[in-house]
Every structure is written in structure tokens, then in C-alpha cells.
Amino acid sequence: MHAFREAANAVRRAPFLTVLSAAMVALALYVVGIFGVATFNLHQALQRIEERVEVVAYLRDGARPSEITLLEEDVLRMEEVRGVRFVSKEDALEAARRDLPEFEELFVGLDSNPLPASIEIELLEGFRTPNAVARVAERLTIYPFVEDVRYGQEWVDRLYLLQRIGGLATLILGGAFAVVAALIIGTAIRIAIFARREEIFVMRLVGATNGFVRRPFLLEGAFTGALGGAMAVGFTWFTYQLISRAIFRLEWIPLSWILSGVAGGALFGLMASGLAVRRYLQEV
């Protein structure tokens, strides 16, 4: 109870210092927030592209319906596969006419349909890597009525490379931003505690226990961190709106990310407070 009262009193006595510390925390987390929005949107874009990764098995014209059904059942049993879709020769021609209007005259007056029937295989998330896709394709070639298997190897390889670069960049840049944010938050909280070092001195002087001394400062640090986190969410939202309206449409980050950011601010504030107080506790 004392800890809450003292923490509240500290904020009340020096609101400017609290807001200043929270603003420093907010600016540090704002950079992380902007990076979060960019990362989230890049991830979403790559995921949308990745969802289009599929394997297509082109069938010989003589393939019997019972053989095709057998193939579909076999393919569905593979652990990498989410679903299969049979595309008949007629469906393929209709799709070609629809999707390739610039080649319309090619498809007029045909004696026979030149396009093969096929099976389009959709893969589960986590199996859209070059190795997994090649593995599925390889297994399909053993069927004699499968004429060809395509999955756009180069395209899948590039997508995979892009995803790995994105992941690595997120890790390195995100880690660097988090470290910088932690240092700034630590400094901001240390400044706030430096201003109250005399209180710590007096508390120790008259015989307050270490826990008693520490608690209000930990609460204050957590509050400042959380306030800074909340302000950072506001700044990030404003920037997101600005970019979405003026430049290009972006998606807003999920609630779990926002809560993690605020909780992270509170946690950093708490830890920075703990470290700073520990230093002063050793001085008296």
C-alpha cells in the first residue's frame, strides 16, 4: 500500500519528470513500433505470396478416371498436402480463355483441346519450402500417367531466399532497436531515480528494508514504461494512418503485438528501476 502511495506521490510531485521519462520511453518504443508495422506488413505480403505456392501434376490424355482418383487419394495422404483439385481439360481451356484474353484467337476453332488435365496440389504452411515442394513433385513423377510436374522452382527458391533475408533482417534490426530502446528506457528511468536519490538515502538511513525502498521505485518504473509504451502505440498509429492515407495501404499490427509492446515498456521500466535503485542502495 505504501509502495502504491509513494509511487503515486512521486508522479504527483514531479509530473513533468514522469512525462519526460515516459516521452523518452515512448520515442524509443515508437521506433520499435514503426519497425513492427513494417515487419508485420512485409510478413503478410510474403505470406500471401507463399500461399500461392503449389505443385501442378499434368496428366497424360489417356489417364483413366480411376487412376486419377487413386492419385488424388495418394496425394492427400502426404503430410505436406493440404488439398488437391482436379482440373479437367475443359476447365483448363476455359481458364486459359478467361485468364489470357490477349491469346483469344489461339483458342478459336480448335479441332481438339490441346491443354492437359491436371491436379493442383495445395501445400500446408511450413511445407512451402524448396525442399518440401521438390519432395512432393518428385513423388508424383513415379506415376506413369503423370506427364509433367511443375512448381516454379526458381520462383519458390527466390521466395524462400526473400523470406530468409526478411527473417534475418527482422532479427538483427529488431534486436538492435530493442537494445537501443532498452538503453534509452534505462537512461530515462535512471534520470528519474537520480532525482530521488536523496529519498533512497534517507530511507536507508532511518532503517527502511531494501524491499521497502525498492517497491515504490519498481512500480514507478513500470508505470513510466507502460505509459511510454501506450504513448508509443499512439505515435505509431498516427504514423500508420498518415502512410496508409497518403502513400500506400498498410495493415495495422495485431492487438497481441500492441499489448506486448506496452508490457515490454513496463518490464524494461521495472528492470531499469531495479538496477538503478540497486546502485543507490549500495551507496548508503
Partner: protein
């Protein structure tokens, strides 16, 4: 009550601040610790408050030993040993009452008791009428009285005072000394570091420990202790020694 046993305190750069010092202070004694600047007076008080630990030897205060008491247990000692400083170390921007109540609150005194005890403490130091004044509005002597009231918050058995009159004029110093003598008369042991030789000479009945270059050069209860050179402004050592527990 207090025992320094062969205490040495050395710092990596400064060398020895205290060198093989032994003395004992009984319950209810009033002791001046004197010596010139750098003689080790403040170091001795810091050791008595366990703000620092000896490099060698043992300090015992109110049953706490410097070799046994952990940092986590320091708060227990601090509630039995009050301390005041030359620069008062009050919380700025707060009233005299706030400063005293803060000490009571952070040591876990019940809310209902805090007001009555702070009233009593401020009356005891003669500041009842100025309890609502901010510390910046008080004179040096009054600020020192607030610091003393704060030091008395936990009803300590020992009061350590590091140059408590160092920033005060003669009249205010006399007032603080009168207050200390009242507290001492009620049974509290007081150790006061001072370099004010006029003050020391004005109270010849108070036991005198003189430090010189980190050594105990003189103990008025025993006579000359070591051959360490006395300070440049050494007090008159012909002052009558006082037996432990002696009246001031």
C-alpha cells in the same frame, strides 16, 4: 554498547583512513570524536553506521557485528542507531513534519501513530510551531533540529552526529549542543564528530577521542593512547577525563 576492536579501514587509493583503532563506548556516554580534516572522524562514524565495513578488525554496535551482520540486515541496526550530518540531508521541498513522518512511514509505523509521534518529536526538538514550514524556509539550526527529530524517529539507543554544528552559527550550535545534552541525559549514547575546538573546550566534561592520521591519538578517559602526532589544532589534553557513563 559500542566497541571498536583493532579496526583498520584502508581505501585502494587513499591508503589507511583508520589504522588499528580500539575503543569502547558505554550506554549513555557522550563522546566527542575530534581531529583535523582527514584524520578519520567521518570514516569512524560511517563504520559505526555500517555504511562501510572495516578492512580489518571488528566494529560492534548495539549487538550488531560488522563481521556478521549482512547488508540485508542493516535496517535493524539503522533503527537502533540514528545519524545526523553537517548538511542535514533533509528532503527538499517538503515540510519539517513531512521529513519526520517520512522516516516513520518508511520504517513501517502505523498510520494512526505517525501524526502523534511526529508531533512529539518536533516538540522535543523545539520545532512544534514550525512543523508546517518547508525545510528551505527554516534556518540552519532549525533544519538540524528537523534532522535530529528524524534521527530519533525509531527511538535509537545511539545517536551519531557528523559535524552537526559545522554549518551553524555559535547560537544555533549552542542550541544543538543543549538538545544533545538533554537526549544524553535521557540515556542515549551520543558520538559526535567535530573539528570545532571551541565547542570541545566549552564542554570539558565530555569524553574526548582524538584521531590523528587515522590513529587514536588521545582518549580523555585513558590519557594518551598512541605516539601518533597530534593534529595541528589539538585541544588541550589536560581536560579532565570522564569515566564511562559519566555525567556531562
Amino acid at each position: 554498547m559500542i566497541r571498536f576492536s583493532k579496526v583498520t579501514k584502508a581505501y585502494p587509493r587513499r591508503g589507511k583512513a583508520l589504522d588499528d583503532i580500539s575503543f569502547q563506548v558505554e550506554k549513555g556516554e557522550f563522546v566527542f570524536i575530534t581531529g583535523h580534516s582527514g584524520s578519520g572522524k567521518s570514516t569512524a562514524l560511517r563504520l559505526l553506521h555500517f555504511a562501510e565495513r572495516p578492512t580489518d578488525g571488528e566494529v560492534r554496535v548495539s549487538g550488531f557485528s560488522s563481521t556478521v551482520t549482512s547488508d540485508r540486515e542493516l535496517w535493524k541496526l539503522r533503527r537502533r542507531v540514528g545519524m545526523v550530518f553537517q548538511d542535514f540531508r533533509l528532503l527538499p521541498g517538503r515540510t519539517a513534519r513531512d521529513n519526520v513522518e517520512f522516516a516513520l512511514e518508511v520504517t513501517g509505523t502505523r498510520r494512526g501513530e505517525i501524526v502523534s509521534r511526529s508531533n512529539r518529536l518536533l516538540s522535543q526538538v523545539g520545532l512544534a510551531a514550525k512543523s508546517g514550514a518547508r525545510v528551505e524556509e527554516l534556518s540552519g539550526g532549525e533544519q538540524q533540529r528537523v534532522a535530529i527529530a528524524r534521527a530519533l524517529a525509531n527511538e535509537p539507543q545511539v545517536l551519531l552526529a557528523d559535524e552537526p554544528t559545522g554549518n551553524l552559527d555559535e547560537r544555533a550550535s549552542r542550541g544543538i549542543m543543549d538538545l544533545f545534552r538533554e537526549l544524553n541525559a535521557s540515556g542515549m549514547a551520543i558520538l559526535m564528530a567535530t573539528h570545532d575546538l571551541e565547542l570541545v573546550r566549552a564542554h570539558p566534561a565530555i569524553r574526548l577521542l582524538e584521531l590523528s592520521q587515522g590513529r587514536l591519538a588521545f582518549d580523555s578517559s585513558l590519557g594518551v593512547v598512541t605516539e601518533a602526532p597530534p593534529g595541528p589544532e589539538a585541544p588541550d589534553r589536560t581536560a579532565a577525563p570522564v569515566l564511562p557513563g559519566g555525567e556531562v
